[in-house]
Structure formats: structure tokens, C-alpha cells
């Protein structure tokens, strides 16, 4: 395991600090909810509620249509395979590959940085029993998912050999807080059969996967459609 001293929480900078005003607003919402007269306050503006509902509909639509598009794009229409492409974890699986592409995480430096930030995150998380409990995680699982002096070189080497190529077990490490290793493996197998991932066995017996780009295109397309839908809702709201 790589030794880390005085780690900075990688999520700290990304999240804006909660202001006193926001804290006060949160407390005010709680008070409102307990006051029977004010409990329906959020529903008093009918046009706003209508717009909110359209946003909700769009979000639900986007989750649903991604599954449909994945199945339509699959190289195989095997019923069992299609069932797996529709499971909830597949959304996060696609999202991860989309983010790698959209954030241009391609170089050796980028994958080293990702592994480093991932390790810092898991180290901090493993010392936060409350959050671990909230996420349904165990410390030993988190520690197993940290890139060590043994596993990090292989991650980098595989990535440099072919940008985006990753060992299946390392991929599961990145997903440790999201899904089980078994779910990750199952999705890799399914995506390989669907033509979304190429999956090869290395000379060392490990399974190497790399994306064919289909998932990223589909996820990006759904995200863009969602953005356009929501933009249209805002315009309608402004008109009314």
C-alpha cells in the first residue's frame, strides 16, 4: 500500500462551504415542514410546480431512455444480456466511461493523478465510519481497493500501452463505493458481449478491458437531450 501522510480530502475543495445563510435556510425549511399552515408553501406557485414536474419528468426520462438506447445499440439481443444492460448500476458504469472521455483523462499523468486522488479519497473514507455505514461499505473492502505499490504500476502500464485500457480488477477498484466487484464483473462481461467493451486476457492472465466508445456516445447523447429539455422548460417558465 502506498504510504500517505497528512492527506487532504480530495472532495473538500470541490464542495462549496455551507454558508450561515444556507444553514439558516435549511433550518427554516424544517420549521416550515412542521408548521401545518406553511407546509404547502413550495406548492403555492403553480407555474413553478409545473416546471419542477417537467424537470423531474425529464430526469426520469433520461434514466429510462439510456437503458433503451443501450439495448438498441447492443450487438446481441439476448434477453439475459439486455436485462443486465438495464440494471441501475449500468447507468453509473456508463457515466464513469463518459467522464473519463469528457474530462480527457487519457495521459499517463492523468491516470496517475486519478489513482492518487482515488487512494486519498478511500483513505479518508476508511477513517469515517459514519459515511462508510451510510454507503454500506466495509473498511477491508476499501483498503483492498486502494492502489498499492504492486497494483499501481500495472494500472499505469496497461493504460500507457493503450490509452483507456484497464485491468478488470482495477476497474472494480474505481467502482468500490458504487457497486460490488461481482456487479462490476457482470457488467464488464455484458458490455463485452454488447460490443461496448473489448475484453482480452493479458499474457499474465489478467482481464484487460477498453471501451469501444459506444457507451460514452450514448450517455453523452442522453445528457445533451436532457439539458436541451430542461433549457426548454426554463424558457417556458420565463414566458409564463
Amino acid at each position: 500500500m502506498t504510504h500517505m501522510v497528512e492527506l487532504e480530502n480530495p472532495l473538500r475543495e470541490a464542495r462549496p462551504p455551507v454558508s450561515a445563510a444556507r444553514r439558516s435556510r435549511s433550518r427554516s425549511i424544517v420549521r416550515t415542514m412542521t408548521d401545518p399552515v406553511l407546509a404547502n408553501d413550495i406548492f403555492s406557485d403553480e407555474a413553478a410546480v409545473e416546471a419542477d414536474l417537467l424537470v423531474q419528468e425529464s430526469i426520469l426520462w433520461s434514466r429510462s431512455v439510456l437503458s433503451t438506447r443501450l439495448v438498441e445499440a447492443s450487438a446481441s439481443q439476448d434477453a439475459e444480456l439486455c436485462d443486465i444492460l438495464r440494471i441501475e448500476a449500468m447507468y453509473q458504469f456508463c457515466e464513469f466511461f463518459y467522464l473519463l472521455k469528457a474530462r480527457r483523462i487519457e495521459t499517463e499523468e492523468a491516470i496517475r493523478r486519478l489513482a492518487d486522488i482515488h487512494n486519498q479519497h478511500l483513505d479518508i473514507l476508511s477513517r469515517d465510519p459514519e459515511k462508510m455505514k451510510r454507503l454500506g461499505l466495509r473498511k477491508d473492502r476499501l483498503l483492498d481497493a486502494i492502489f498499492t505499490a504492486d497494483t499501481l504500476p500495472r494500472l499505469v502500464e496497461t493504460w500507457c500501452e493503450r490509452p483507456g485500457q484497464i485491468d478488470q480488477s482495477n476497474l472494480a477498484r474505481f467502482f468500490v463505493t458504487i457497486m460490488s466487484t461481482e456487479t462490476c464483473r457482470k457488467l464488464v462481461v455484458a458490455c463485452s458481449e454488447a460490443g461496448f467493451l473489448s475484453r482480452n486476457r493479458s499474457p499474465f492472465g489478467t482481464v484487460l478491458v477498453s471501451s469501444t466508445g459506444v457507451m460514452e456516445q450514448l450517455f453523452g447523447g442522453v445528457l445533451r437531450d436532457l439539458r436541451l429539455r430542461i433549457s426548454a422548460i426554463q424558457c417556458e417558465g420565463a414566458k409564463s
Partner: protein, 144 residues
């Protein structure tokens, strides 16, 4: 929900696409054989075997299923009462949300990671973790 493995001929080996995604490779193909194998694996009493055998249409557990059941005390207790509940729990662990155990049939069991090491993944909720992962990737992708 349509139970898997139902109606398979005794002695038949599962050859469907399912085996590609579940690593057990060979399925206990006969509903009649399942209780005996469960009993042998879990070391159940004769009464418990008779109980399992008396119930029609038992689920077809894989060898992986049996290993997990054997490893988790709560599953071991429930499997003699209602193997279908255990079967559904195992399928839920496979990530198939459509097969999650419904509140109506879920027994009152508290998941203890020490007693049930494989059940720890069940209550996992993704939104917070998914947001964390998004932020991590955002940090990596940020231009210096």
C-alpha cells in the same frame, strides 16, 4: 416473478446465457435434487431436509449461491424456512433491482457484517458515492 430454473428436466445442465454472467458455470438443474444438495452443503438435519423436500418448486441454487448461504448465518437460517426468500436475496445481491425482496416476504433480519459478510453490499446506496466519484474525476480533469 417467474422463478428461474423452473421446469428444467432432471439431470439437465443449464446452458443458457445466464451462466455467462453468473460464475457458477453449472446449475443445480433439478428442483428435486436441490434440497439434498443444500442439505449436504449446509449440514442440515433430516427434519430440515424433509421440510425443504416437501415444498414444491424449490429454487435452483448455484454452487456459488450455496457457498454464500453457508458463509452467512442469517441466510442459513432462512433457507430452511423459505428458500425462495434466500434465492431472491441472492439475486438482489447480483444487482438485479427488479428482483429485490419485497417487504411482504422479507423476514426481520438485521445484517451484521461479521455474521453475514456478503450481505454488506445490499444496503449500499449510490447517489452520494456517485457524486463523490464525479467530483474526483472533475478534479483529475481540471486544467492546471
Amino acid at each position: 416473478m417467474k422463478p428461474r430454473g423452473k421446469g428444467r428436466a432432471p439431470g439437465a445442465v443449464e446452458t443458457s446465457a445466464r451462466s455467462r454472467f453468473w460464475p457458477s458455470h453449472r446449475w443445480l438443474s433439478s428442483a428435486g435434487a436441490a434440497p439434498a444438495v443444500i442439505a449436504m452443503t449446509l449440514g442440515l438435519t433430516h427434519a430440515a431436509v424433509a421440510e425443504i423436500g416437501a415444498r414444491p418448486e424449490q429454487p435452483a441454487f448455484t454452487s456459488t449461491d450455496l457457498t454464500i448461504i453457508n458463509r452467512n448465518e442469517s441466510l442459513k437460517q432462512i433457507v430452511t424456512e423459505d428458500p425462495w426468500v434466500v434465492y431472491r436475496v441472492l439475486r438482489a445481491m447480483d444487482g438485479a433491482a427488479r428482483e429485490l425482496v419485497t417487504p411482504a416476504v422479507r423476514p426481520e433480519v438485521r445484517v451484521d457484517p461479521k455474521r453475514d459478510p456478503d450481505l454488506g453490499d445490499l444496503p449500499r446506496v449510490a447517489p452520494e458515492a456517485a457524486h463523490d466519484l464525479f467530483i474526483l474525476l472533475k478534479k483529475v480533469g481540471q486544467k492546471k
